[in-house]
Amino acid sequence: MTGPWRRQAQPPDLAEPARDTSAGPGMLTLEGIAPRRHQESRRGVQVGRRIEAWALVVMWILLVIAFTLDEPGLFMTIGNWANILGSQAVLLMLALASLIPLVMRDFDLSLGAITTLSAMTLAILNVEDHMNIVEACLIAVVVSVCVSAVNALLTVRFGGDPFVITLGMLTVLTGIIYLISGSATVGVVSPAFSRVIFIDTFAGIPIEFYIGLLVMVVVWYILAMTPAGQQAVIVGESREVAKLSGVRVARARTIGYLAAGLIAGLGGVVYAATTGSVDPTTGGTALLLPAVAAVFLGSTCITPGRFNAPGSAIAVYFLASGAAGLENLGAEDYVQQLFYGAALIVAVILPKMLGPGRGVNFTLL
């Protein structure tokens, strides 16, 4: 663009004429200013950024190649992939559920328990009360959202610490799940229902995979592509700026909790369909922690330094592929734990080593 704003076009007499130059060498004239230096370094920066953004995907591909070479005819089979992709739907949905409050630097520890509660509610209504499966699903999801509404009320409205409040909620929900199930496994839910979600496949992969994928796309769209998502990011990155720029912070956080509850509730529905019968002892932290790990791991890719939906999904399947490969190799169960934990720690620490301010700045607000 040409015009009066080009630095080069500025006549030097713009500065006050006849200045005392002893105050600083050449300070107030426009001559002798070195041109700004961004241009030359930009290409390098962009390449570096792109590498960082796709590093986890590359790692995933390398992992797959390694396992394929190591165990040909075992890892790269339709069956194995159907298993890897299909079995992670609940984990993916739970990761996406935790992602939304995390973007706003809220943390909901009770989401795993909400998933179990949703599944248990569905199972009890369907199996013991013989309720129509569609109605049972609806009620299960509504119950989940209601629990999140309580979380939102206690944290956003009354200013409770999210960590403590949702820890309490996690414990309370665990108790409620035992209470309503009589501490026994409840099943079997409608086989037709299980068939639709778990048994039926599309392109060889169970339908539940596509349900998870759909949720991922919706969450991605809202967070990355809409003003609503930007508002959520502003709330998470600087609550002060959010308030001063007119973002309705309390409202945004409340919606975040509710959306998380909704997705966790849907996850419970898929969970019930997958397992057929719901065990009150599973769930809670056992479900949540790998999901949260995936969200953190995912924050290192696609848009590094920011919690994001595609990253979370990639992390879920990266971890699942690794675990499946190790299992095929005959590794013990605990190897999977080691792999999950180590991957998370390495992924979160690496960006910090690249420079100050890198990586997700995770401080609960």
């Binding site: 704003w5 300070m27 508002q231 301010g357």
Partner: protein
């Protein structure tokens, strides 16, 4: 967009001579070229009057400076314009010829074409340049529009164009924390200017005002030229700029007219071109400079002056020698502290004074760490970069930080625990903590340092600010420091405690020969306490004031004349 050729003129044009005197309210509120006119603005906080009948007006397309020292009322004025503070009844504010409601409802200023850029810039470091540019629009988005897709590609292109228009070569996808400070400042200003541009396009109005609150604080000389260039672009585009600063040099370089606030009242003003630097300093500091003679000159003379008793002179040896200290805002600092001496460090924000005490102490949470220089304490030499606070304490340094609640004391612990936290070990023997002995000793200290109430078991949080500060001082005295580093030790402390703290420090200097480095913005206090005052600018010592020349006015003047220059 205006396409006036060549000159992004800050106002050297001849047509601006008319309304030269900012004090005069003679011209009516509808006086043609006025953008902003304020009349009779006063503000009372409790018993103090922060502003007294402030009046001035700003013309279209000019850069108007509001000058004044810390505490002169500049920030209060800005906050009134932004709608954060209510002025006292009787205030009148006219914008673009129309009266604004007083007090201004929050947000009203922006709707009328006023934008503010504060020292903290209001950027979100974790978000990209583009995201920061668009925060305003996004935050205002409601309902269905909230879920419509953002055309990132197009917005990035547009952002690049906008930035270019303001002479900025920034990649819209860069996250703000990756930018140098100057680019952040320029971005924040460009963002505000673009809001004004949008306002003018939307409403068809011609007048708008950009308020820059202390924008030069962290900028070096070269960086300032970039800022000035941007300001010229902003005024060339048709906005006026209100430039709030204590930086004389910057004001003289960029502003057309100015007004000076002193103690909340207008102390002068006029056209910059018609006013000499000395005249400006007189307005800022007060013409009766001689009034501020050091009140405690005699006490200091007993230490360093001609009246030093011989016995003391023999003891006077070097305690602390700092050579070439660098890190954070400090570029190159050397100083010496001798026995019984109090060395003051003075300078504006960003001059290096705020980081210096922490760098000497092995780096603090916010001051960053030292990158170079050596520190010699009582004859032993340390690399400043490798020094840590534990070593510093062992070597005989103590630090009373400015941020007491965060760095200085643990509010939830008892007074006794706070006093003895450095020397807990003394009370631990045979596997038992001798709490009772500690409490008895603590009682002794509360008497010694006059900490009230004298209840060592009380949580520190329940004490007043002054008594908390005395506790912090007591804590460090337990470590028997050779050199005490003080950062704003009397800030936020009541008058009584302030006097006591000064007396305590002075006493330790006289009795034990302790040395002190005192960093403060209360220059009257520095003048009263210090034997030497080093004035810092841009991380370097630019003036050394010592002996009888250590007066408030001397420090004032040195700080004003040398603000942040390369």
């Amino acid at each position: 967009m205006v396409t006036r050729s060549g000159t992004g003129d800050a106002g050297n044009g001849p047509e601006r001579g008319a309304a030269a005197d900012p004090d005069s309210a003679a011209a009516g509120p509808r006086g043609g070229s006025r953008v902003l006119e304020v009349r009779n603005i006063s503000k009372t906080f409790g018993a103090t009057r922060a502003l007294r009948h402030v009046e001035f007006s700003i013309d279209a397309g000019e850069v108007f400076a509001v000058l004044g020292q810390n505490g002169s009322g500049k920030s209060t004025l800005v906050k009134i314009l932004a709608g954060f503070h209510q002025p006292d009844p009787g205030a009148e504010i006219y914008f673009d010829g129309e009266p604004l409601p007083v007090p201004l409802p929050p947000g009203m200023a922006r709707e009328r074409g006023l934008e503010f850029v504060y020292q903290d810039l209001g950027l979100v470091p974790g978000m990209t340049v583009l995201e920061n540019l668009t925060i305003g629009g996004r935050s205002a988005s409601r309902g269905g529009a909230n879920l419509r897709p953002i055309a990132w590609r197009r917005e990035r292109r547009e952002a690049r164009r906008v930035l270019e228009r303001y002479g900025l070569d920034l990649d819209p996808s860069t996250r703000v924390f990756e930018l140098p400070l100057i680019d952040r400042a320029l971005l924040a200003i460009a963002r505000a200017a673009e809001e004004l541009q949008g306002f003018r396009a939307r409403t068809g109005r011609e007048r708008s005002l950009l308020v820059l609150d202390e924008p030069t604080v962290f900028l070096s000389g070269t960086e300032l030229t970039f800022l000035f260039e941007l300001i010229r672009i902003v005024t060339a585009n048709g906005a006026s700029v209100m430039f709030i600063s204590h930086d004389l040099e910057a004001v003289r370089a960029i502003a057309t007219r100015f007004v000076v606030l002193r103690d909340g009242a207008v102390a002068g003003g006029g056209r910059v071109a018609d006013t000499t630097e000395d005249e400006m300093i007189d307005m800022i500091v007060g013409s009766a400079r001689e009034r501020f003679e050091r009140s405690a000159a005699h006490t200091i003379e007993t230490v360093t002056g001609s009246g030093v008793p011989p016995a003391r002179r023999v003891r006077e040896s070097e305690l602390l020698a700092v050579e070439g200290l660098a890190g954070g805002t400090v570029k190159d600092l050397s100083l010496r502290v001798h026995e019984g001496e109090i060395i003051g460090l003075a300078g504006v924000t960003g001059s290096g004074t705020e980081d210096a005490p922490y760098l000497l102490f092995g780096g603090a949470a916010d001051g960053g760490i030292a990158t170079g220089g050596t520190i010699r304490i009582a004859g032993r030499e340390y690399g400043a970069a490798s020094l840590n606070s534990a070593e510093a304490i062992r070597a005989g340094l103590a630090l009373v930080p400015a941020n007491r609640p965060r760095d200085g004391a643990v509010a939830s612990l008892s007074v006794a625990d706070n006093i003895f936290m450095l020397v807990y070990g003394n009370y631990f023997s045979h596997g038992v903590m001798a709490r009772r002995t500690m409490m008895t000793d603590a009682r002794d200290r509360t008497d010694l340092y006059d900490i009230r109430p004298p209840e060592p078991a009380m949580p520190l949080a329940q004490l007043s600010g002054g008594n908390q500060q005395k506790t912090v001082l007591a804590k460090w005295m337990e470590s028997r420091p050779r050199v005490l580093l003080l950062h704003e030790p009397t800030q936020g402390v009541d008058v009584g405690a302030r006097t006591e703290i000064r007396a305590l420090v002075k006493e330790a200097c006289l009795d034990r020969g302790m040395g002190v480095v005192w960093v403060g913005t209360d220059f009257a206090e520095l003048a009263e306490m210090c034997d030497h005052v080093l004035v810092l600018a841009n991380g370097r010592v630019v003036k050394h004031i010592s002996g009888d020349e250590v007066t408030k006015s001397a420090i004032d003047e040195a700080v004003l004349r040398t603000t942040n220059r390369d």
